[in-house]
Symmetry: C2
Subunit: 298 residues, 2 copies
């Protein structure tokens, strides 16, 4: 399970963050990243000799938020026991409390626990769900939500947006919505894509796929907004998809409207099989521009 | 309507703000305040020779937010016409657009328009509605809402909180929940006070009164939270109120959970009568520690 010198334990870490002030998830030298903050906190709590390395379900870009991010880390059993053994709480409560004490307020650890056998935050995931918030001309602009809501002055037709989105569902090549990368497949299964207007008037998109390539959700939203504005027909997003080519008429939407809400995993007994399957089908190990565990053969 | 040298127009300004980085509403030398920012923007747009002065419905404290704040300003008719007359939009749309261009992102002007005859943002108001958000042990801590939500680890009994709150309704002396001020009455009419748990698990209070004295909502919430935690009976908040004395067992809750949601005014024809009535009954003109237009005779 790890290449550490002593027996190790794999920890599953569920967390959320306000992405506003982060240069995304992935650790980068000299930049403030979620992975960087979490790694420092874990390394401190566990008194690890080397920085704790993390594997994540969704490698969010700069400015993108998360409520339901999932990561894992392999840590030395002895360090884990020592870190959690000094309090009256359960080991996992103790670890959450200690991490919360170290992390900045824009990162919140929800739960930490020993992962079930075969768990892999990235390769065992079977779906990722994102939301995208847009306050249009019909919604009141709420300064308290300005960090996670895109404001546009015009009015959106939510039914038209949902109709246009529905035509993208299924197993397809989403090359038109992905940044091209040598050797990386762009075939994904889009499981849900719809829009609704909340009680506060804000238009919210719900997007679920087995995995997403880089900036794919923001490009998908960018293909559907012109439909909502009446500038393109409800068939246009599907036509863009079918073309297989990125279109200059599809604007990649701003990062701050996007939030990773939830990651789905199979039941525990099926975890190992799922991770093996996803690993076997991946093309580029640890692809830096994708949260994809499942990507098809080239 | 004003003491300006030329004919004036009274503008009603509806706005919201994220109070996190403000030292409250009221302008104070050397501090960043909402009134200060709005006054500077209005003065610029109207090219006013002197800073535009504002009157507000709710003088929120440092860190308190607003979605439905209402203010008014008396400005020279000529300046108003000049400011809005240069675009193809309606005067009020033009003014909103120009103010939005000047204001920082944590203040959002929703609407600006000529107030109806007799309107006074403070003295014509008949009620103010506030919300208070608490994420307890049953709610997920959402880092994206950390600016407007108080986090507590224990679990709250929402029904008990509502039962305790209900006993405070009506015309009463709320001295036990007000910072004492020489000569200022503490009699208010509490119109609504209840609690519910939202879809996100967050416990939200809804508090409506004709007016509030300084830090009154935060003290009311502080009296009800111990009921929700099972530490006090549902009768305790009413006992505190009846005592007429501040209790050290009532903790004034943090500012950042509080938001001014809405201000109620009578129908236009009744505005002038309401403002006259409230002015006649006020005790301290422009009381610096209260949003009260209506306060009873001493």
């Amino acid at each position: 399970m790890s290449d550490l010198g002593s027996p190790s334990v794999r920890l599953r870490i569920d967390l959320g963050y306000d992405g506003t002030d982060f240069s995304g998830w992935a650790a980068q030298p000299g930049l403030r990243t979620v992975e960087g903050e979490l790694s420092v906190a874990l390394t401190t709590v566990l008194r690890a000799p080397d920085p704790v390395r993390l594997t994540v379900a969704g490698r969010t870009d700069a400015g993108v938020h998360a409520r339901g991010q999932v990561a894992h880390a392999d840590v030395a059993e002895t360090a884990y026991v020592a870190a959690v053994g000094r309090t009256g709480r359960t080991p996992d409560e103790a670890l959450v409390a200690r991490l919360r004490g170290l992390l900045p307020p824009d990162v919140v650890v929800h739960r930490v626990y020993r992962a079930p056998a075969g768990f892999d935050a990235r390769f065992a995931a079977v779906w990722r769900r994102y939301s995208y918030r847009i306050a249009d001309g019909r919604a009141e602009r709420d300064s308290l939500r300005r960090r996670d809501t895109v404001w546009i002055g015009e009015q959106l037709d939510v039914d038209a947006m949902s109709a246009g989105s529905a035509q993208l569902l299924g197993l397809k090549d989403f090359a038109a919505f992905c940044r091209r990368r040598e050797g990386a497949t762009t075939v994904r299964t889009l499981l849900e894509f719809g829009w609704s207007r909340g009680a506060d008037g804000v238009v919210e998109g719900r997007v679920v796929a087995d995995a997403f390539c880089h900036s794919m959700v923001r490009a998908l939203v960018g293909a559907v907004v012109p439909v909502g504005l009446g500038r393109e027909s409800v068939h246009w997003p599907a036509q863009v998809q079918a073309s297989g080519e990125r279109s200059s008429r599809v604007k990649v939407m701003p990062a701050h409207g996007l939030c990773l809400e939830q990651v789905g995993y199979p039941p525990d007994p099926a975890l190992a099989a799922r991770a093996l399957e996803a690993r076997a089908r991946r093309d580029v190990p640890l692809a830096a521009d994708s949260d994809a565990g499942t990507v098809s053969d080239r």
